[in-house]
């Protein structure tokens, strides 16, 4: 849908521009699409603000850490490992692939 929009020659309007923000930030717009998006921004303070808000949202999300979560309980995992070693051979192999 967006590609079709960018292929057409008409100017991008705000309602379309807000749908292009992620493609723009991800760098997945074509060169022509990027140019048209940026030329809309240049004439539209509201969409410029919108883009700034999307950037701020991403940045704020990136600052969220889990300081309210308990850290690893090391002994627990050493136990887990030793139990697994002890059980090895009796357990069927999992097929988790990577």
């Amino acid at each position: 849908m967006l590609e079709k929009l960018l292929r057409s020659r008409r100017e991008i309007v705000c309602q379309q521009a807000v749908e292009l923000v992620t493609d723009y930030l991800e760098g997945t717009l074509s060169r022509a699409g990027r140019r048209r998006f940026e030329s809309h921004l240049a004439g539209c303070p509201h969409c410029t603000e919108y883009l700034a808000q999307m950037r701020a949202t991403i940045e704020l999300t990136g600052t969220l850490t889990a300081d309210d979560l308990p850290g690893p309980v090391q002994d627990e995992f050493i136990d887990l490992y030793r139990r697994w070693r002890a059980d090895q051979g009796e357990e069927p192999q999992d097929d988790s692939r990577g």
Binding site: Q15, V18, E19, A56, T61, F77, L80, Y81, R97
Partner: protein, 198 residues
């Protein structure tokens, strides 16, 4: 993935090195716990999911072929287990269904802003209580439809690349981008609703 920082540890773990296991756990535990918390009702259950994941890792270590990074592999096992365990109500929105980034009523008939975005970014920097902002954002993330929450958490909190997210969640690049777009758009709207025009 020539420079996977975990590859060496994984090799040692394969050779039966207990310390390598502890180091891998230390490196990834917090992120895995955060991720698991998005699927299950309590931290206690999330911890069980993480433990169960590590057990799965130990059992499946022979099958890891290094086609993805170790982290991607760990997260994929975790997500599969957390989804199975997850008692939370599924709130899926199909990727094919339209979901505008901004409520269409905020545009006029020509598609231009009728109710432009209310400013909040400067406020967030200057005046807003960081804890309050983080709290609001956390609940907004929690309220996202499942698939959007998965993608936003992995991309924007844990810092995975789009390729890694596709691999962890086993989704296409295009769907990853749509989910990311919708999730981020919803979060922006929540912040505007909460803090805009102050």
């Amino acid at each position: 993935m020539d420079q996977d920082p975990d590859a060496e540890l994984l090799g040692r773990l394969r050779a039966g090195d207990e310390q390598a296991f502890v180091m891998l756990v230390r490196r990834h535990h917090d992120a895995m716990l955060r991720l698991a918390c998005g699927y299950v009702p309590s931290v206690a259950v999330a911890e069980e999911v993480v433990q169960d994941t590590w057990l799965g890792v130990l059992r499946g270590i022979g099958g890891f072929e290094g086609r993805s990074s170790v982290r991607t592999w760990l997260f994929r096992i975790l997500v599969n287990r957390a989804r199975t365990t997850g008692a939370r109500e599924r709130r899926s929105v199909a990727v094919g269904d339209p979901e505008p980034a901004v409520d269409p009523s905020r545009f006029d008939d020509t598609g231009h802003w009728a109710a432009p975005p209310e400013r909040w970014v400067e406020e967030a920097d200057a005046r807003l209580d960081a804890a309050k902002l983080a709290g609001r954002l956390r609940s907004a993330i929690d309220e996202l439809p499942d698939r959007q929450r998965e993608v936003v958490t992995l991309r924007d909190i844990e810092g995975l690349s789009s390729e890694e997210v596709c691999s962890v969640l086993e989704i296409s690049e295009g769907n990853q981008r749509v989910l990311l777009h919708r999730g981020r758009s919803r979060l922006r709207q929540s912040l505007e609703t909460e803090f805009g025009g102050t």
